[in-house]
């Protein structure tokens, strides 16, 4: 099994989800033999950060050191990944689900004649062909799917495998990509992005607020709680619909699906569409003044109380613990 892993970065750091993808590749190699090569793009990663991809299990890191790839041009990324699969002889491409990864993987599948499976939640079963377990119905069920063909692309959901951190630094090689003007036919004219924040889909802890917070002016305590926990902030759909918070914080069926270790829901009643976005969380804490809120049924821990009293106390207790 020759594995190529597509590694994404954010603000000069390799994304944790991508390191999970490298760890997944390493596990595949361990059970099936072969090699693991990672490929990273753009000029924002320094040599040490690139070599450190080896700690997650890659033997070699290919670097496409071209500033044109500092932006997520979907077609250009797809072209280079297909070339890299070809040149390294990879029969398996592994990547983390993301806004870029999903968009790119589908095109690579066509270019390389590979079978694509996304939302994968664990290592494959190769005892009878190549079977993967996927999350479906927005986290409400799983499907075990058999993948045909010689090549495959595996897009992973968060926490599909434990992160490996004890590998050796990898050799970094330049990868000469052969891209054409047509690959850059889409022009990214502006990027608006919150900097310095924990990215919601990557976060290990998420603190979300709902309509129970009464207005955007009350988000200070949500942000403070998130800061104390090193968490990302999220919100329910009504909150983003009313523009109290930006859309990229909306967690739910038609928003971001999160899979943190800890999800804290404050003033969110727990509509089934919201639960669909959080049901892959390991532990769920619900704080709501309505003791009959349906969210408590999906929670591990709950506090029935007024958020405006409970949250400041919680922040205090965390600070002193």
């Amino acid at each position: 099994m020759s594995v190529l892993v597509f590694v994404e970065s954010d603000e000069g750091k390799v994304k944790k989800s991508s390191l999970e993808a490298v760890s997944y590749g390493y596990q595949l190699k361990n059970s099936l033999g072969g090699s693991v090569t990672a490929i990273a793009f753009g000029t924002e990663l320094d040599d040490a950060e690139l070599a450190d991809i080896g700690k997650a299990g890659a033997e070699k890191v290919l670097h496409v050191a071209d500033s044109k790839f500092n932006q997520g041009i979907i077609q250009a990324y797809a072209t280079v990944l297909a070339q890299a699969m070809d040149q390294t002889g990879a029969n398996t491409l592994v990547l983390a689900k993301s806004s870029l990864g999903d968009a790119v993987a589908a095109r690579v599948a066509i270019k390389t004649n590979a079978t694509l499976a996304s939302n994968i939640v664990e290592l494959p079963d190769t005892s009878n062909g190549f079977e993967v377990k996927r999350s479906i119905y927005t986290g409400k069920a799983f499907a075990t799917v058999s993948l045909n063909g010689e090549k495959r692309i595996l897009a992973l959901k968060k926490n599909a495998v434990d992160l490996k951190e004890d590998g050796e630094a990898a050799n970094v090689e330049q990868f000469a990509a052969n891209v054409e003007d047509n690959d850059f036919g889409v022009n990214i004219t502006a990027t608006e992005k919150a900097t310095g924040d924990v990215l919601l889909p990557e976060a290990d802890i998420v603190v979300s607020g709902g309509r129970g917070l009464k207005g955007p002016e009350n988000w200070g305590m949500i942000e403070e709680l998130a800061k104390v926990l090193g968490a990302a902030t999220g919100c329910s759909k009504p909150v983003s619909d009313m523009d109290w918070r930006p859309h990229h914080e909306h967690v739910g069926q038609t928003g971001i699906k999160v899979a943190p270790s800890l999800y804290i829901a404050i003033g969110i009643s727990g509509a089934i569409q919201h639960l669909a976005g959080v049901n892959s969380s390991k532990i769920i804490v619900v704080i709501n003044k309505d003791a009959d809120a349906p969210f408590f049924k999906a929670a591990d821990y709950g506090i029935a109380g007024d958020a405006f009293e409970v949250v400041p106390k919680l922040i205090e207790a965390l600070k002193t613990s």
Binding site: Q75, S99, I110, F142, V186, K193, L262, E309, L314
Partner: protein
Amino acid sequence: MKILVCITHVPDTTSKIAFTDNNTQFDKTGVQYIIGPYDDYALARAVELKESNGASVTVLNVGEAETEPTIRKALAIGADEAIRINAFPSDSYFVARQIANVAKEGNYDMILMGRESIDFNGGQVHGMVGELLNIPSISPVMKLEIEGSTAKMAREIEGGKEQLEMSLPFVAGCQEPIAEWKIPNMRGIMSARTKPLNVVEPFEDDKRSEVVSFSLPAEKGSVKMVDSENVGELVDLLKNEAKVI
């Protein structure tokens, strides 16, 4: 301007998910079917563009005869005609090939669909169709404006968004807030009955994956309630019992 909107026929978001036949079939008992919520945004934006810029809107579904009420609803919302590819959409590569085949014949200026279906959540079809047609594929798109032969979009990225420009044609996987969902009115429902719905057989049967079985997540244990006067106990539980902080 010609717009192709691809829709899925999926269980309502409030459906209880269960399986039958030794966990190999989805249990349709009591399940209401709807236009995929993301596809519904794509359709709403297409109908808006028809009203503002002038366009014909063709809606396409890969599905068996049972999807026709869902297709009629799309016609009632404002699509002009519909095509149903008569096949069960079990594999995204298969579905993408069918859509690309229709799109090639129809010379559409844009192909809109949802960012993903809410049953299989693959999110692959728009990218595959874009690659098969060698045109840009952008997803998830939260804003779409057409100015002459240029499309201006906003695409959601982790923690923010990108503004993009490209020439027509293109494929877009759509999500909110690209448009508000449209509810069909009586006139739309009446006219939908007589709008053309062409049923076409699939042109090839090349599938790359098969579902072996389905399963459900483990049930959650019961919630442990903490007194609101004793918040410190929650911190203790998260630290020492759940071990997540």
